[in-house]
């Protein structure tokens, strides 16, 4: 069982990220439910996705139930921290150093280095998977991204994923 919140601003690729993780997990035969934010909020507003793996019916994570909070925008972490278990872990896109409850990676900078700031979600995915927080390995994600028929997108995604993985070691 895994319960996870992914948060950030509209436009940061949270929906894409949630969907991809879910697709890989169901390919492994797991039961997955997720919930996405659409509509007005995606125009730069606060958004989050819920992801639940296990024998659930509702797509929503309850307060103090999330194992992990993945935050693509440090300004959004506080808006979602109530979902996290007392012993849960925050993974945050930020240049600041780690603290006992928070692992941080400067995904925006790594994404820019990889070619586009918009790749920060993929950097984050590499980082989170390399930390062993998902029931799926970085290699499995890599295999999935390598299936993208668009050559340039494929190359950029793989580079961003690698950068995230490397930052976790």
């Amino acid at each position: 069982m895994l319960e996870m919140i992914l948060c950030g601003r509209g436009g940061q690729g949270i929906v894409f990220l949630t969907r991809m993780i879910g697709q890989i997990l169901i390919a492994k035969g797991l039961d997955v439910l997720s919930s996405e934010t659409h509509g007005m909020a995606v125009r730069g507003g606060s958004i989050n996705s819920h992801l639940r793996v296990g024998p659930f019916h509702s797509p929503l994570v309850r307060e103090s139930h999330a194992d992990v909070l993945v935050s693509l925008d440090p300004g959004e972490t506080a808006n979602n921290i109530h979902f996290l278990k007392p012993d849960g872990l925050v993974v945050e896109n930020s240049p600041l150093p780690d603290d006992p409850r928070t692992r941080r990676v400067d995904a925006t900078r790594l994404a820019r280095d990889a070619g586009r700031a918009q790749l920060e979600n993929v950097v984050m995915l590499g980082f989170v998977s390399a930390l062993g927080l998902l029931p799926v390995s970085a290699d499995e994600i890599k295999a999935r991204l390598a299936q993208d028929p668009r050559e340039r997108v494929r190359a950029l995604n793989l580079k961003a994923l690698e950068a995230g993985v490397a930052a976790a070691s």
Binding site: I26, S34, S58, V61
Partner: protein, 611 residues
């Protein structure tokens, strides 16, 4: 058919599962108007059509009324058909919908209506199950995406069997949830044979309407007798305990998970009703009578609760145990369930949420349009409408937002009231898709009555808020096949408008001059409504190329904050510690409008010499 496997499992959004259900049911005509949280239903049908090389006809209709009528026509002509919309869209389609309930259908007709408790992206929290009751039509209420697919198939069967339109009511938490959903091979295109003339039915005069009403009532009674979905079914272990919960739809999934996670709730019998109307009221009463207490947890109106005649042992919305407004999120559901049991609830501190407000995108052509409207019509009443451009409220250029098309209708009234007309001219703003949807009759009305206001149509060539669906002005249809683009200027001319001008909102000077001419025409010369079309494609559309140019802020900046306050461009960021305004290059779209309007002329193209 290109699909190789008959059965598969996909990670589907509820809306995609509904689309898939329609395909599997042999549906051959689908029409919709986009609106959150329903838009992906037709979008997924377009994708299934392509993936399966399926012959289904799909259209984005001009509005929900027409979408329903197209689907209804197809049903009378024998096809299984689908109309999809958000719940306020059903208000627009209510006239034909209620009439169709009496006349009935031939090919199965499913109307998928997405509800938005919260509300997250809508004007109301109305409950479409209540609407189904009002219209006397069956409604299925899925709890998960996988159930949405199964219920779509059932809705087609029930509609066709009883010859009545069937409503499918997914809430946002089903529409925008994803789940591993088993899919099956589509049935062949279904049908009940071609149109059969029968004016006593399809063109019934009032005398026959009475007969049809009686027949409809008989259909509903027969459904309750024959269809298992009308009866509550136990979704927990039979506990023999003193408390029951009756629930339906997406909130039933929260109820299930909360019940499974708390030992105190193990002694509760949880029942779910798949078809909340027509419901087997006697079966509900039986549950109530055989328990000490029965709690109704349903969203957003007490539809099942009101079907219980003797409610002395009932807790729910009518007794105040369930709040009368707002979304029933899992934590609230837990509190409701525990307090229903009489168990203590733990008072949790309310989460401290400072949600970032949405804004018009960097480079959005609506931003310069609003900016210049405010400049030219300084003390106007800004009559607004529904779409991305409702976000003009952030810039102080949207004063009203009622429903689709109301900017124009209301402008006629705002300009008519005798109080302070001369100090407050009225300017209405509306998007192109919303104008087509419900603005045209209102504009004709304004012309006919010589209503004194300026209308600015913000034409970005798509229905942008919901993801860029085509409008009647586009020369392509939902599936990309060729259509006829309706000429907006000719249309407006045909409405009788004398003053029509088209302008590029990126061109500040031209835009200002155009708005000034409209002001003279309408207010100075008193010649009635004038229309300005501010036309530039939405920056989010894939074929729109934005300039590579990036900008920086020079020393001339005196921190007047006009860029964040008046332009409200998200690319500008004020760094408090450095007391400096900067442009975030990743957010900037390169439109350069800020360069034209910065009061200190401090914004320069990057790399150019500073003055």
């Amino acid at each position: 058919m290109t699909e190789t496997k008959d059965a598969d499992v996909r990670f589907l959004m509820g809306n995609e599962a509904i689309g898939r259900g329609a395909i599997e049911a042999g549906c051959s005509v689908a029409a919709a108007y986009p609106g959150t949280p329903s838009s992906e239903i037709l979008e997924s049908l377009v994708r299934w059509k392509k993936e399966l090389n399926h012959p289904i006809y799909v259209e984005w209709s001009i509005n929900e009324k027409v979408a329903f009528e197209v689907a209804y026509g197809a049903s009378l002509a024998g096809a299984r058909s689908l109309a999809a919309m958000k719940m306020v869209g059903l208000n627009v389609a209510s006239d034909p919908y209620l009439s169709a309930a009496y006349l009935g259908v031939r090919g199965g007709l499913v109307v998928a209506v997405a509800d938005d408790p919260g509300p997250h992206s809508s004007q109301t929290e109305q409950d479409s199950r209540f609407f189904a009751w009002f219209a006397k039509t069956p409604v299925l209420d899925p709890g998960t995406p996988a159930e949405a697919l199964r219920m779509t198939l059932r809705a087609f069967e029930i509609s066709e069997k009883y010859e009545v339109p069937a409503l499918l009511r997914p809430c946002l938490r089903v529409c925008h949830a994803r789940q591993n959903v088993p899919i099956s091979a589509p049935l062949p295109i279904a049908g009940v044979g071609p149109f059969k003339k029968d004016w006593t039915r399809w063109a019934a005069i009032p005398k026959f309407r009475l007969i049809l009403h009686r027949k409809l009532n008989e259909k509903l009674s027969e459904m309750v007798r024959a269809e298992p979905e009308c009866r509550p079914r136990l979704i927990s272990e039979a506990s023999g305990g003193p408390v029951a919960i009756i629930t339906s739809g997406s909130v039933s999934s929260h109820v299930r998970d909360v019940a499974a996670s708390d030992e105190r709730l193990a002694q509760v019998d949880v029942y779910k009703v798949d078809m909340p109307y027509p419901v087997d009221a006697a079966a509900l009463q039986e549950i109530v009578d055989s328990h000490e207490k029965t709690l109704f947890v349903e969203e957003t109106y007490p539809v099942l609760e009101l079907h219980v005649q003797d409610r002395r042992k009932v807790l729910g919305r009518m007794t105040g145990h369930v709040p009368p407004q707002g979304e029933l999120l899992p934590d609230l559901v837990e509190d409701i369930m525990l307090s229903g049991l009489g168990a203590p609830t733990v008072a949790k501190p309310a989460p401290q949420i400072k949600a970032r407000r949405p804004s018009l995108c960097p480079g959005c052509p609506h931003r310069p349009a609003f900016y210049t409207i405010k400049k030219v019509f300084e003390h106007a009443i800004y009559s607004g409408d529904i779409g991305c451009y409702t976000l003009g409220v952030n810039m102080g250029v949207v004063d009203t937002c009622l429903c689709m098309g109301a900017s124009i209708g209301m402008a006629g009234g705002l300009a008519r009231a005798p109080q302070g007309q001369s100090e407050h001219p009225v300017v209405a703003t509306i998007g192109d898709s919303t104008f087509f949807h419900a603005g045209i009759p209102a504009l004709i009305n304004a012309v006919h009555t010589k209503a004194p206001f300026v209308l600015v149509i913000m034409d970005n060539a798509v229905t942008a808020m919901t993801g860029g669906q085509p409008t009647p002005a586009n020369d392509y249809l939902a599936d990309g096949s060729p259509g006829v683009g309706v000429d907006m200027e000719k249309l407006i001319q045909g409405c009788g408008v004398e003053s029509i001008e088209v302008v590029d909102p990126y061109d500040h000077q031209a835009l200002q001059e155009t708005l000034e001419r409209a002001r003279r025409h309408t207010f100075d010369d008193g010649k009635g409504v004038s229309v300005v079309i501010a036309r530039r494609p939405c920056v989010r559309m894939p074929n729109v190329e934005m300039p590579e140019e990036r900008y920086e802020i020079g020393e001339e900046c005196d921190l007047c904050m006009s860029c964040t306050r008046d332009l409200e461009c998200p690319a500008f960021q004020y760094i408090k510690d450095d007391k400096q305004m900067v442009i975030d290059e990743d957010l900037c779209a390169g439109c350069g409008f800020c360069v034209q309007v910065c009061p200190s002329q401090a914004i320069k193209a990057k790399g150019s010499a500073h003055a």
